[in-house]
């Protein structure tokens, strides 16, 4: 079976961490057997303290993480597609060229847990244009948010949303 890039990264990381983990386990078994609680006056032989060696993290591959298609809400018009993308190690939300929404003021792009956003959700800022391709930087991959929402800040209503899958 062929591994994709992400699986290869995880396999590499496991292989790299195995010797350090084994050393740490051996040390943990040795210490109780030779010291604490045994009551013997003998001093245990000095044992080098195992220090987990930092594992170099391979950068995750670029690509599209999730996508969705907008539909209108509350009688407002929104259509087109959206994608969460990782590029050069950074995450971003991309509204695709087919994106269009209502020509209204106070519209924000948000990532939300439900289509009814609240203050704990992620506000990416005002919609830059009512149609066309746009890019909004993300602090992480936003995997905790199932919905991309076009949110009217003034009346606290979604004008459209896309479920990200």
């Amino acid at each position: 079976m062929r591994m994709n890039g992400h699986e290869r990264t995880i396999a590499t990381r496991r292989a790299t961490t195995r010797p350090a983990s084994a050393l740490f386990l051996a040390a943990a078994l040795f210490i109780p057997a030779c010291g604490g609680g045994s009551g013997t006056p003998m001093s245990p032989a000095p044992v080098p303290t195992p220090v987990p060696t930092p594992t170099p993290t391979a950068p995750l591959p670029d690509g599209v993480l999730r996508t969705g298609t907008f539909e209108g809400a509350n009688g407002y018009f929104t259509e087109g597609s959206v994608a969460i993308v990782r590029r050069d190690g950074a995450h971003r939300l991309e509204l695709q060229p087919d994106f269009r929404t209502s020509r209204s003021g106070a519209l924000d792009v948000r990532l939300c847990r439900t289509t009814a956003c609240d203050s704990s959700d992620l506000d990416l800022g005002p919609v830059e244009a009512f149609s066309g391709a746009q890019v909004y930087p993300l602090p992480d991959d936003g995997s905790q948010y199932p919905f991309a929402v076009i949110w009217c800040r003034a009346v606290a209503l979604p004008f459209g949303y896309a479920e990200l899958q």
């Binding site: 209108g72 509350n74 009688g75 407002y76 018009f77 269009r100 929404t101 209502s102 020509r103 209204s104 003021g105 106070a106 009512f130 800040r153 003034a154 009346v155 606290a156 209503l157």
Partner: protein, 271 residues
């Protein structure tokens, strides 16, 4: 045929201030009617472009209006209807205000038939307000030239103590905003110095499918605005051509505006 008394005309024109309805009766030559009024709207319902009613933070609108009608002749009346100041706000968002739009119109009596009077009115609205206030959601004007051509018919009854009229006509809107039909009706009755009126007015776009130009939705100045407003009015003559009028109405069959009761209080003068 009994003519509608001047006092009744006063009440009818008073209703006209700040609304689409005025009736077919104009001012006599040299006659003047002036009214200044204040209107307050409070709403927590937003009628969205497809007619869905959604709960929103409290929306409030305050308007100060000036309405003047002058009789150029016994058949032709010149009308000025200006929103002197419009302020609106949404709780937790913003508040904005400014000079509103100005409307100028001419109404001409075009005929009589028995107790009925017929008139035509043309009105032009200049975009003197600012459509960009509050990120475009709290505008003081529509931002486009607008107008309407309305035909009206009315009559008196009950020995001149009662009256009624209906009127309707096309509404024109610039800037790509959808056009439609404006309409209104009123039934009134006079008892001593007090006039009682029941009013109906509305706007119905020719095309009511939700569009993508919903700016100004809460303020009721955007695209596809639809409503049917009904409510009572009471006017009291306090002497020497002066009177006080109170109107209350609420909208139904609404799209693309904040829906709530509107209270209007006005002071009018006529000679």
């Amino acid at each position: 045929m009994r003519r509608v008394p001047a006092a009744v005309l006063t009440g009818i024109l008073a209703l006209g201030a700040g609304s689409a309805t005025a009736g077919p009766w104009g001012r006599p030559r040299g006659g003047v009617y002036a009214k200044t009024s204040y209107a307050y709207l409070h709403a927590t319902d937003l009628a969205t472009p497809d007619g869905t009613i959604a709960s929103i933070p409290a929306f409030e609108k305050n308007e100060a209006s000036l309405y003047v009608a002058y009789g150029l002749s016994d058949r032709v009346t010149l009308v000025l209807d200006a929103i002197a100041y419009r302020q609106s706000g949404i709780e937790g968002f913003d508040s904005a205000g400014g000079v509103g739009d100005v409307r100028v119109g001419v109404q001409a009596r075009v005929g009589r038939a028995g107790p009925w009077v017929f008139a035509a009115r043309g009105t032009l609205q200049a975009p003197t307000g600012d459509e960009t206030r509050g990120e475009g959601l709290l505008p003081s004007g529509s931002g486009v030239w607008e107008g309407d051509l309305v035909a009206s018919a009315g009559r008196s009854f009950g020995r001149g103590q009662g009256w009624l009229f209906v009127e309707a006509g096309p509404q024109f809107r610039g800037g790509g905003l959808r056009e439609g039909l404006v309409y209104g009706a009123q039934v009134g009755w006079r008892r001593g110095r007090v006039l009682f009126m029941a009013n109906l007015r509305g706007v119905q776009p020719w095309d009511s499918t939700p569009g993508d130009a919903s700016a100004g939705s809460a303020a009721g100045l955007g695209d596809g605005v639809t409503y049917l407003a009904v409510g009572p009015s009471v006017a009291v003559e306090v002497g020497r051509g002066l009177g006080i009028q109170v109107d209350l109405d609420g909208a139904t069959h609404a799209r693309n505006l904040a829906r709530g009761p509107t209270l209007r209080v006005g002071l009018y003068w006529s000679r």
